[in-house]
């Protein structure tokens, strides 16, 4: 098991470095797709299959397609490099160090005494069988029933995002109708 974990993490790191270093934007987009698939595998190892579904479909599928269509509008080459990368490097290093320092306070993975395992999760896990009349999936119960307001808000956010993209990017219906039947 450890072999798989370390292999996937090492490949994630290698892919991330490649995305940063590579100059060809088309290849960089492909590497972000690979990164998403690796993250999906990683989520599966962490026992989160629903997050893995989402990561594989959104990260590797839909966002890769959207980035490729953007690339078709802009062009495949990156703008020339700036001479000095000292300042960005400093900012990135400091931010990275701060993030790593922040993780030092985090509880260990799967620690049963962790705060989020103490409150309010156990009460939900214990109550959900009775409350939901035998529906076994606690995650769905929390998302759709106990936290129904939040999920309604999230759905509204997705809807708003879709409307915003339509308003900004969509061409008139008249122009799309004139398209030839086959490309």
């Amino acid at each position: 098991m450890n072999v798989i974990v370390f292999t996937i993490l090492a490949m994630l790191a290698a892919t991330a470095v490649t995305v940063v270093r590579i100059r060809d934007l088309w290849a960089a987009i492909m590497f972000t797709g690979i990164y998403s698939f690796l993250s999906a595998s990683w989520m599966l190892i962490l026992d989160a299959p629903d997050v893995a579904f989402t990561e594989a479909a959104v990260g590797a599928g839909i966002s890769t397609v959207l980035m490729l269509s953007t690339l078709a509008l802009t062009g495949p080459n990156e703008k020339g490099r700036r001479k000095s990368s000292l300042l960005p490097m400093t900012v990135v290093t400091i931010t990275g160090c701060a993030l790593v320092y922040g993780t030092l306070d985090m509880p260990h993975f799967g620690d049963p005494n962790d705060t989020i395992h103490q409150y309010p999760s156990p009460s939900f896990v214990e109550k959900s069988q009775v409350d939901m009349h035998g529906l076994p999936n606690v995650v769905t119960a929390v998302l759709a029933s106990y936290r129904g307001y939040d999920t309604l808000g999230e759905t509204a956010v997705i809807f708003t995002a879709g409307v915003a993209v339509m308003l900004i990017l969509r061409k008139d219906e008249g122009t799309t109708d004139k398209e030839a039947p086959t490309a």
Partner: protein
Amino acid sequence: MNTFPIIRVVTKLLIPYILLFGFYVQFHGDYGPGGGFQAGVIFAAGLILYGLVFGLHAVKRVAPPALIERCMALGVMLYAGTGFSTMLLGGKFLEYEKLNHHFLPGFLPHGQHLGIFLVELGVGLTVTAVMTMIFYCFAGRKRVI
């Protein structure tokens, strides 16, 4: 991309299973991993794959933009409507216990199960429609595929 026979054939073989898996994740989400959002993106990924291979025009015939933009709003309306219907039945907003009924028990879902089913369906509809619509908007800017 619609001149490569291998890609066309493999895509046609794959798409039914992708869509079926989307339905499975949607309707089995009460029991297994998954739910509306996951099902929505899987379903949209199937539609987008069809659009990539067979062209924007072909996928717009399967899922017309006019239908998609109505589904975007319909999903949110279904979710909020479930909340308001529980209010009309005398409960609080999204209080699924009020959806209990005694018509064909054991066959039709009721109570909490019916509420979760309806709101997940709303989420799935909205997510599918929004993802597909974003693809239409991006791909429709220029004839790239």
